[in-house]
């Protein structure tokens, strides 16, 4: 299944050894989209690297911004003003919904229902409209800064956001009607590609993939950051760890994100959006720092080794899609070719993140 293929979610290659229709073994080949981000980081100053983080998981750009910016804020011990924190949460959850919409849409399309990608993308358009209204961009936002956000929301933002939340709730109900109860869909996804809890933990799966295999780990609850401790939301867990559970967990997570956004909008305070007192030249103290956040794909972590200069000595990114993808070669022996497509789509990888 070569790099050019309608269903590999990007340039990704799996060499499959097949016995008729059944897969005997698979060998993933990654690296077709490798852009050398971690090496590039060593030649950029810390603020200059923020736009690069957008390009990792390009379906949810602001979440990557968030992880990186919070790592640096940890290094500099900066206090972010409350309004900026709330705005960050609103956008992070909007990005989570946007990413899951793509995941669910392309998943259903890979199963054969080509219409299934158009409706989620319709909703995603409205989310991207909100983002472009705020920071001018639809995909690579470069929105967060050390100590806050770059632009405040315009006056038209909140009314449109409230309308969008209701629109999304109806849309999710429509998807459940069309997809979740469909006989063919259930036959294709139930019992396929089961990942047990032990296997998930040993391969380091995070995000909806792990939660579908009943691993109760969410960075927002286990190592809270920002204002997540003050927000009330649940973590949906799956039981069987099959493809259907991974789909269902993403659908339920979208509803939880709607809850979070409503709370954040209700409690949004007035105030500055950027911390004062941060120097223009960022020179973090010498040392090693790690911080991770809950990306829509999993746990995105930044490990930065600073040697006191304006450029990092080493910047390593714990990329969730890369780590989640490792389980593919383990799960596919014994399934049919059509199931490989379903399993790959349910793992929800983004090649920008896999290759970095």
């Amino acid at each position: 299944m070569g790099p050019q293929h309608p269903s590999t979610h990007g340039v990704f290659r799996v060499v499959l050894q097949m016995d008729g229709e059944i897969i005997k073994s698979g060998n993933s080949v990654v690296g077709y989209l490798h852009r050398g981000m971690e090496k590039l980081a060593e030649a950029r100053t810390y603020p200059q690297f923020i736009p690069y983080t957008d390009r990792l998981d390009y379906l949810a750009g602001m979440c990557n911004n968030l992880a990186y910016v919070q790592t640096i804020e940890k290094m500099l011990r900066v206090n972010v003003p409350a309004r900026a924190e709330y705005l960050r949460v609103i956008f992070a959850e909007l990005m989570r919904i946007a990413s899951h919409l793509v995941a669910v849409g392309s998943f259903v399309m890979d199963l054969g229902a080509v219409t299934g990608i158009v409706y989620p993308f319709n909703h995603r358009e409205k989310i991207l409209d909100l983002c472009s209204m705020t920071c001018g961009s639809r995909m690579t936002f470069n929105y967060l800064r050390f100590g806050g956000v770059s632009h405040d929301i315009p006056w038209a933002f909140l009314p449109r956001l409230n309308y969008l939340l209701d629109y999304l709730e109806e849309g999710l109900k429509e998807y459940h009607d069309l997809v979740t109860d469909n006989e063919i869909f259930l036959a294709r996804t139930k019992g396929v590609g089961i990942i047990s809890t032990e296997l998930a933990k040993s391969y380091g799966l995070t995000g909806p993939n792990a939660r579908a295999s009943s691993v109760n780990y969410d960075v927002r609850k286990n190592h809270p950051y920002g204002i997540y401790p003050e927000l009330a939301f649940d973590i949906p867990l799956g039981e069987a760890g099959d493809v259907f559970d991974r789909y269902m967990v993403r659908m339920l997570e979208m509803e939880e994100s709607l809850k979070i956004i409503r709370q954040a909008v209700r409690d949004l305070p007035e105030g500055p959006i950027q911390a004062v007192g941060i120097s223009k030249v960022i020179k973090p103290p010498v040392g090693e720092y790690y911080h991770s956040t809950e990306n829509p794909k999993g746990e995105l972590g930044f490990y930065i080794v600073s040697d006191g200069t304006t450029k990092p000595y080493r910047l390593q990114i714990r990329r969730p899609s890369f780590i989640n993808l490792a389980i593919l070669d383990q799960v596919i022996p014994g399934v049919k070719l059509a199931d490989v497509v379903a399993i790959l789509a349910s793992l929800d990888i983004v090649l920008g993140e896999v290759d970095g």
């Binding site: 269903s7 199963l111 229902a113 219409t115 158009v118 409706y119 319709n122 036959a187 294709r188």
Partner: protein, 382 residues
């Protein structure tokens, strides 16, 4: 005064009634004309040819020969037209289901789009992959369209509008449509491409498995009518359409027909997300166009058979028979397209188990029940 008024009133009424009945006669004559327009045209042509042949002193064999070509031209016209219209219809219907417009640049509402598509396909480079089996590769698209064209010859498009009213009409259709599996196998094998091979194997397995429920579901209708001749079957539906007498068979037929046409949710042979284009991967230009024409021709054929066997053929009030036939066939085609753009795809093993383990027993049970019903009906005289 009153006397004169009374006479004038009777005079007007008299003439009003005459005009009314004259109009009624006119309308009914026009409807008769419209209903039989093709039949009258064919018989006129036949008389003309017989006159010419008599004048030249040849035998009547030549009349028959020319008429065969005329009928062939008519059927080919239907298929080409159907393929063109359905290409656009598919794109428009899929677009409307997906909340978008579809082609609307070429001609008003995209109506000239099929012509543009045809030109494009005719001018594409004809690529034969290196290592492909040349003869089979070229023959496959040519052979695949022949059974479809042949099967149209027994379908009653209207009253008296059958090319050849074979007394084993439906049996002939089954036999001919089974032949479409071979070109798919040829196409899959000869392209020297792993996707084509997989697609070809899958498609043949699917088509062969789903022919059996297709045949058995139509057996019930044949049993009720007592004849394989399609025009007799249509005549037998004068009172009640067979869809009400054979609902289960109808459902089985629709599912098996979708599988026979290789359309979603059974389009495994061209499972786009898995096999790029499956059997069609290496075909370009006109060869691919022939495959597409066969697919749409098959779709119309299967809808036409469904109309004939279950929905009463060309019966319908007032309007010409062929119009009702076209309307019912169009309804089926729309239904097939609707299904294609809504449901995900079935996996190959689920497809096979569904066909063999569920559809065949169901259709056999239907045959049994139909036989029982006919026996009881005859015995008790219900």
């Amino acid at each position: 005064m009153g006397d004169w008024l009374y006479t004038a009133w009777k005079f007007c009424l008299d003439w009003a009634i005459r005009i009314f009945f004259w109009g009624l006669n006119l309308v009914s004559y026009l409807l008769y004309l419209a209903d039989n327009i093709f039949v009258l045209g064919a018989s006129f042509l036949r008389r003309l040819l017989t006159w010419i042949v008599d004048y030249l002193g040849l035998s009547t064999f030549w009349v028959e020969l020319v008429m065969v070509f005329v009928y062939l031209a008519a059927i080919l016209a239907i298929i080409m037209l159907a393929a063109l219209v359905l290409m656009l219809a598919e794109r428009k219907i899929s677009a409307f289901i997906q909340l978008r417009h579809g082609p609307n640049r070429v001609g008003f509402w995209g109506l000239l789009q099929p012509i543009a598509d045809m030109f494009k396909l005719l001018t594409k480079e004809d690529i034969i992959p290196r290592g492909a089996d040349k003869l089979i590769f070229i023959l496959a698209p040519a052979i695949v369209i022949a059974p479809t064209i042949m099967a149209y010859s027994v379908i009653p498009f209207g009253k008296g509008m059958v090319v050849t009213d074979l007394n084993l009409g439906i049996f002939y259709i089954f036999a001919i449509t089974s032949l479409t599996t071979i070109p798919f196998l040829m196409a899959g094998w000869s392209a020297n491409n792993k996707y084509s091979l997989l697609g070809g194997m899958r498609s043949v397995a699917q088509m062969v498995s789903y022919e059996i429920p297709l045949v058995f579901s139509l057996l019930g209708v044949v049993m009720i009518t007592g004849s394989l001749q399609l025009s007799t079957i249509v005549e037998a539906q004068r009172g009640i359409w067979f869809i009400f007498l054979q609902p289960v068979a109808f459902v089985i037929y629709v599912i098996a027909a979708t599988a026979e046409c290789n359309r979603a949710p059974f389009d495994i042979h061209e499972g786009e997300s898995e096999l790029t284009a499956g059997v069609y991967t290496e075909y370009t230009g006109l060869k691919w166009a022939l495959f597409m024409m066969t697919e749409y021709g098959n779709l119309v054929l299967v809808s036409a058979i469904a109309t004939t066997m279950f929905l009463g053929g060309w019966h319908g009030p007032l309007l010409p028979g062929w119009f009702w036939f076209g309307l019912k066939t169009a309804l089926f085609i729309f239904f097939f397209m609707w299904i294609r753009w809504t449901f995900p795809r079935v996996r190959i093993d689920q497809l096979m188990s569904f066909g063999w383990k569920i559809l065949i027993p169901l259709s056999l049970a239907n045959v049994l029940l139909t036989g029982l019903g006919i026996y009881l009906f005859g015995m008790k005289g219900w």
